[in-house]
Amino acid sequence: MVFVVLRRLGVFATTVVVASVVTFLMLSILPGNAARIALGVQATEADVAAQATAMGLDRPAIVRYLDWFGHVLIGDFGTSTVSRQAIGPEITDALGITVILVLTSVVLALLFAIPFGILTAVRQRKLDGAILSGISQIGVAVPGFLAGMLLVTVFAVMLRWLPAGGWVDPGENFGEFALHLILPAIALGSVQGAVLSRYVRSSVLEVMREDFIRTARAKGLGAGRALFRHGLRNAAVPVMTVLGLQIATLLVGAVVIERVFSIPGLGSLLLDKVALRDLPAVQGIVLVLVVFVLALNFLVDLAFTLIDPRLRSAA
């Protein structure tokens, strides 16, 4: 048993190492000279060369990789070439913001998608079901940033009910934090919600056609009760897969909404750091993202195992 756990962790660790190599290689061919960017247009070529040496940019790739990853393993992401601060805290701060944003939006999305998806599935052949389903289809087709732009225009600019953007740490001022979170979370969540509701719908539709629902109805359970008692757990499995993937893509994908709302999240940080060729920071961010996604996959698998006894014991 211990062996199996160790083996799984071993696979996970190997995947992370490979991912780190991929990350490093991909980023090592970024054009642009970080030293020149740091010094600006007035610096001479000699200054730039000296700066490059100081930043350790002239060492062979393998040395740079080992140095970097070795330090990452002990929790040291290195020092940003731009802010000259340890990168770790910068990444954790931004990651925290993005995770809060993404999770809030996903919760909103679920709050919307589950009832909506079930409703559209159950009333599939009715007019109202078709209309609702149409609405969610259109919701899927609207770009997220457009939704964000429109929300800002209406609720922040025209009505002045809510701030147009920015971020306040929850520890600093929770009320303000909540106010600042509402619009971006809705913008991000509405589109995700529309997408998720499609999955909930098809998943519920699928489950509704399962024989065991018919069995439940043959027992005398009404259609609704049969669906709730027997269908939803079964429908949850495919929806969870999608949810896992969505969260994974949203960590970076939220950058569009972060831009619309000027939120200093991880995606924004990545874009800024890439622009400034702050390589240690970029590598750190990408690695954190990758590990996060891999870990998420791992967790989704775990959740499956909990929900579905077929995966728990094979017999």
């Binding site: 696979v11 190997t14 995947t15 490979v18 991912a19 991929v22 991909m26 980023l27 061919i29 970024l30 054009p31 642009g32 289809q137 259109i138 899927v140 087709a141 609207v142 770009p143 997220g144 940033f145 457009l146 732009m149 225009t153 499609r198 098809s202 699928e206 056609r209 993937l245 994974a248 893509t249 960590l251 970076v252 994908g253 950058v255 569009v256 831009r259 995606g267 990545l270 874009l271 890439v274 622009a275 990408v286 993202l289 990758v290 590990v291 996604v293 891999l294 996959n297």
Partner: protein, 286 residues
Amino acid sequence: MTAIKYETRARRPAGHGGGATLWAGLVLIGLVLLAAVVSVFWTPFDPEGVFSDSILLPPGAKHLLGTDSFGRDVFSSILRGAQISLLVGTVAVGIAAVLGVPFGIVAGMNPGRLDQFMMRGNDISLAFPALLLAIIFGAIFGAGTVTAMVALGIGTAPAFALIARSGTMQIMSREYVQAARASGKNGLFIGLRHVLPNISGMLIVQASVSFGIAVLAEAALSYLGLGTPPPTPSWGRMLQDAQGYLFIEPLLIVWPGIAIAVAVLGFNLLGDGLRDRFDPKMQVKR
């Protein structure tokens, strides 16, 4: 008589499986396709020129949907923009399919170590979503349509691989595959002759849905400045440009918004329709 019975059985589901949805999707995509094709040969005005004398005109007889800040006819730009959207969708989905499908099939046909190994590789590529790739590739190769398409393609490939793999595993357990093996056919033959044709239904559904996603992603990338560079009109960039004129000429944001929605909706409906059609459960049960 028996044969006739089976024939009607096979045809019947085709008649109504996902019918309305499918048609709605096809009509919308048809519109986009039409715009793309027409704009190759003709647009009312040049969508890439600069017309300093006709800046920001409201919709009217001459300029059906008005003009933008460069004096360009919005209608012409929308037409031409369909080309970019379709191009991005086609290339991205093409790349994703070309990379993902063989990968998934090979993994699915070789359960055990190779499959495990390939799937861990797939996990890693899943961890680099399209947008992340687009940002990195944009920095490496310079932002632009090609970079965006490639990034989207590579980013979507793992999804294709997963679908192809699960489909392949289903097909591999079918007896006709065993029969082919018993006939001495090799893996390549089985993959091409048996597996690929039989999972194509799933793949087409996936392709259609991915197409819609690619159109949306291109818009998002354009918004971030990582998409199609001007003056080539892309719907996403038109949206971004229009953002600055929201209070001056709000309609400017409406047209590309509608265009994107129509295209994405079209592909989603097509995907839904096709899924219903390919889904054996939606069909008459034997």
